[in-house]
């Protein structure tokens, strides 16, 4: 563990914490533009966070401590996820603590805690949201693992940092297995981040809510932490996608120069990614909850096809 690695690590976490709401604001702004609505300012999520931090936190009478710690656990998990994923540099001291599989486990840990917290109050919506979120979770998690396996077969490693370095060093070639994995990953990220074909982050319609139903009882600082964590999750997923499928520009050694060039490259990639996400959300419609398994099964199958293609071509 070297000092520059630690600095890169801290820089990454700070960038994620500060920048994640901005990405969310960027996506929302573009979505509004594409839908011919008047766009909110790009810093709208910061306003929301500020508003929530100034409001009172109402906790239900029947809430146990589990309900109150869950937002912080989710926030902690998402922050760690942002620290593990190579966004700026692939020479991270924390990266050895968790490889791709452990990262999926980390997301599952956060999901489990939030689902349990949602069931804790004992209202109609909490349980419904928990059930639906776990449904999406158990479908998305294997698909996510399969996409990671697709890439790791190519790189012979499940450590994210090594995956990025290996892909970075390969001569540029279109890998069919990576293409399948990329599409699968996109579908999974839409589902995991409660984006439109699966869930609508802006809805409060009881028949369609998933994530919003789980956090319905939260308010004030707890809700602020959850909103922030959701932004961090979107940031982490975007960075995983960029790192695995477009890794160019990530620094491999933490010289100050490499870090300085890595930041604008990342911002540019995230900006383009955000517009793509807004475009996907605009051109697709929210689907019924029982169409979601088919949607996610498609992702799963695509990832498996990716694996088989890799085996067949013997790459």
């Amino acid at each position: 563990m070297n000092t520059s690695g630690v600095i890169a690590q801290l820089l990454e976490v700070a960038l994620a914490l500060a920048g994640a709401p901005l990405l969310l604001g960027w996506v929302d702004q573009w979505r509004a533009r594409l839908q011919n609505r008047k766009a909110p300012p790009v810093i709208q999520p910061y306003h929301v966070l500020r508003k929530l931090f100034h409001k009172e936190s109402v906790v239900a009478d029947s809430a146990s401590p589990l309900f109150r710690i869950a937002p912080y656990v989710k926030f902690g998990c998402m922050t760690l996820a942002c620290a593990i994923v190579p966004t700026l540099s692939s020479d991270l001291p924390l990266a050895t603590a968790a490889d791709g599989i452990a990262l999926v486990g980390l997301f599952a840990l956060a999901r489990t805690f939030l689902a349990l917290a949602a069931m804790d109050i004992g209202t109609a919506f909490g349980g419904m949201g928990a059930r639906r979120d776990m449904l999406i979770g158990f479908l998305a998690e294997p698909a996510l693992l399969m996409t990671l396996f697709c890439v790791s077969l190519l790189t012979q490693s499940t450590s994210l940092a090594n995956m990025v370095e290996t892909i970075n060093h390969r001569p540029f070639a279109l890998e069919p297995s990576l293409a399948f994995a990329g599409i699968a990953f996109t579908i999974v990220s839409l589902a995991e981040n409660t984006r439109i074909p699966v869930d609508n982050p802006a809805t409060h319609l009881e028949l369609t809510m998933i994530h919003e139903a789980m956090v319905l009882e939260y308010s004030g600082r707890h809700l602020a932490m959850l909103e922030w964590a959701a932004a961090l999750k979107l940031f982490a997923y975007s960075c995983i996608g960029l790192a695995l499928f477009f890794p160019w520009g990530i620094a491999e050694i933490d010289t100050p120069l490499a870090m300085v060039t890595a930041v604008p490259v990342l911002v540019l990639k995230l900006a383009v990614g955000g517009v793509c996400l807004a475009l996907i959300e605009t051109i697709s419609a929210k689907m019924r909850i029982f169409r979601v398994p088919e949607f996610l099964a498609t992702a799963f199958l695509l990832a498996v096809i990716g694996l088989l293609v890799h085996q067949l071509l013997g790459a």
């Binding site: 109402v58 656990v73 050895t96 499940t158």
Partner: protein
């Protein structure tokens, strides 16, 4: 020679304790306060001795008990000692819990129950020690009989008797297969000692037959599909500490037997053996987990989850057998380590969960998920300790369940280099199925914990539930501590497993793992994959604390308690409030819909005009309906046919005698 003597002394001690408890047959207080804690002490001692024995060479002994000229051969080697650790740890925690658990009589008097319990523990120990087929079968059967008596402890209930009968039936069908298996293994030498069986080199057809019989026999005990039907009946029927021992420890003796026969006595086999186990394991894992998500009774849910976990273990063994067949030592060691780590992990968290259900059952008298809820507020000790088991059972980091899952997935990822292209294609699909099973296990565990401990109490009496007492907490702490500690220090687990894999497949992970220090688990090189649970936990903890600090720092509002929103209905009575939340059936509904073909669903839906609308849904196992019931009916029909001979009148029997005599005379004449 020292270990084996100690282990025998401990087994003898258990038998003595059992005999002593007959003297105080109905004195519940003495049995609970003295005999069970002493049993726990012996369990702890067994664990310590076995922990040491894992790292020492094999030791043999002979006991001159039994038929003349046929002494009992005993042996403790790395494989046996590893399973003795599991048995010792399991019995220790369960006995601690039992000291507080058996307060009132449940059918069988407590002294008798204690005898059966300790005999069961001793029988499991001796199964693992046995070094010849006679001893093994005698102990195997003692284990079956003593556990049957424990299962039927509450024998006044007809359903319990039925469950016990089914268990005994399938246990014996399995035992017959094992007898035949040992018969093949001795290859007409007439010497049934394991040393001789090991020395025999059977031709492929015979060794495959022996393998098949062993898989059948041990599979019946382990609850592999399609021989799993007894498990969800028998495990819930028993008192909770017994359910814990059955699910968490006894099933492991079947895994022990499978390893002993397949890898030790038969020295591995062709690659398709591994595929057979892989297929059976995967089918069990998938069926077990899907059924566990739709259960409405907490102990049944856990019993099905045991089928799932045994399936995962067998999948790992299957993979190890395949690698072993191709001579890939490092990969075989990785897959086998994953399976063995899961043996330990499952034994700890399943003990914890079953004991937790015991505490809930005692406090509330309810085992139906539809009548529980909100117990985290009245039983915080049980709830928070069980949460550790739930998170481990869901395979989440940094708990122990994740270690085995991680190792198993790693061993699948590294299989791209098999010389068989068919297998190369197949194995990623298996990895996908494993990922699905683990994710579904998370669903089942959230359902279990959420419905039992969270939400609002579904019955008013739950508000008066009392938390577990001191002994029970101690038992739960023992397992919860293990689940957390082993999750954080996986390198120690790898150390424990290493001598076993060395003995069975000739390679181990310990050197590779030690190269990276004790913080990091990197079985195949740090650049390939690594997982450091302590750093992981530190990271999550630090980030969570950071969140807390940020929230305190930015927060300008205040905290207020208020009633939860009841969908605009205003204040509701407690019962109606509870009815707003998801029921156990409701929580399982998505799984029921997605995996519809797995189930035979019997639904009763209310009509719009019903005065008292009723919704009922019952889920049956298709295997039970399709494979077992027809056989049972056939046996019944045959029995009735034979029964026609029995008329119960003396004249008829005299007629039979006369006819027999006539036939005999004719035969003699001709």
């Amino acid at each position: 020679m020292i270990h084996i003597d100690w282990i025998l002394a401990i087994a003898g001690g258990w038998l003595l304790l059992g005999a002593a408890s007959l003297l105080v047959l109905r004195a519940t207080a003495i049995v609970a306060r003295w005999i069970f804690p002493l049993g726990a002490l012996l369990g702890g001692a067994l664990m310590v001795v076995a922990l040491d024995a894992v790292f020492c060479g094999p030791e043999v002994a002979q006991l001159v008990i039994g038929l003349p000229g046929l002494p009992m051969h005993l042996r403790v080697d790395a494989l046996g000692a590893f399973f003795l650790v599991v048995i010792g740890a399991g019995v220790c925690g369960t006995s601690l819990f039992s000291a507080g658990y058996f307060r009132t009589e449940e059918g069988t008097p407590p002294g008798l129950l204690s005898l059966e319990y300790h005999a069961f523990a001793a029988a499991m120990t001796l199964v693992v020690l046995a070094d010849d087929a006679y001893t093994f079968m005698v102990m195997w059967e003692s284990m079956a009989v003593s556990s049957y008596l424990l299962v039927t402890a509450n024998h006044r209930v007809a359903a319990v008797r039925r469950a016990g009968y089914l268990y005994l039936l399938i246990a014996h069908i399995g035992a017959i297969a094992l007898l035949l298996c040992f018969g093949i293994l001795q290859a007409n030498t007439g010497d049934y000692s394991f040393a001789n069986l090991r020395a025999q080199h059977l031709d492929p057809a015979w060794s495959s037959a022996a393998f098949g019989l062993a898989v059948f026999g041990f599979g019946a005990k382990a609850g592999l599909v399609p021989l799993h039907v007894w498990l969800p009946e028998a495990h819930p029927a028993a008192p909770s500490p017994v359910s814990a021992l059955l699910s968490a420890v006894m099933l492991k003796t079947a895994i022990y037997g499978m390893l002993r026969v397949c890898l030790d006595l038969l020295h591995g086999g062709p690659w398709w053996w591994g595929m057979v186990l892989l297929g059976l394991g995967l089918a069990s894992a998938l069926l077990g987990v899907v059924f566990s998500t739709v259960q409405t009774e907490m102990k049944r849910l856990l019993a099905y989850s045991s089928i799932e976990n045994i399936g995962l273990i067998v999948t790992g063994i299957g993979l190890a057998l395949t690698f072993h067949a191709y001579g890939m030592t490092a990969l075989a060691a990785l897959a086998l380590s994953a399976a063995l780590v899961h043996v330990v992990a499952h034994s700890y968290f399943k003990n914890l969960l079953f004991l937790g259900t015991g505490a809930v059952l005692h406090a509330t008298g309810e085992r139906n998920l539809g009548r529980l809820g909100g117990l985290i507020r009245t039983m915080p000790w049980v709830a928070w300790l069980v949460l550790a088991g739930v998170l481990a059972g869901a395979g989440l980091p940094p708990f122990v369940g994740f270690i085995s899952e991680w190792l198993l997935l790693q061993s699948f990822l590294l299989t791209t280099i098999l010389p068989n292209s068919f297998l190369n294609m197949l194995i990623p699909l298996v990895a996908a199925a494993i990922a699905l099973v683990v994710a579904l296990a998370g669903y089942a565990m959230v359902k279990f914990f959420g419905v039992v401990f969270l939400g609002r109490p579904r019955e008013e009496k739950l508000l008066q539930a009392r938390d577990a007492g001191g002994w029970e907490r101690l038992g739960l702490l023992w397992f919860a501590g293990g689940v957390i500690a082993m999750g954080l220090f996986p390198v120690l687990l790898i150390d424990l497993v290493d001598p076993v894999t060395r003995m069975l497949v000739g390679g181990g992970l310990a050197p590779a793992v030690h190269a990276n220090g004790w913080l990091l688990l990197a079985p195949s090189g740090i650049e390939r994959a690594s997982y450091g649970p302590l750093v992981f936990l530190g990271g999550v903890g630090a980030a969570t604390l950071l969140g807390l600090v940020i929230a305190r720092w930015l927060f300008r509002g205040r905290l207020r308690r208020a009633p939860a929103w009841a969908c605009g209905q205003g204040p509701l009575p407690v019962r109606d409030q509870a009815r707003l939340q998801d029921s156990a059936e409701g929580f399982g509904q998505p799984i029921r819909q997605i995996f519809e073909p797995f189930f035979h669903v019997d639904r009763e839906l209310p009509a719009p005009t019903d005065a008292h609308p009723r919704y009922r849904v019952e889920i049956e196992d298709r295997i039970w309906l399709g494979a077992y019931l027809p056989v049972a009916r056939l046996v019944d029909a045959l029995a009735r046919l034979v029964g026609r001979l029995q008329q119960g009148r003396i004249s008829i029997y005299l007629l039979y005698s006369f006819l027999t005599l006539l036939v005999m005379l004719l035969v003699v004449r001709l």
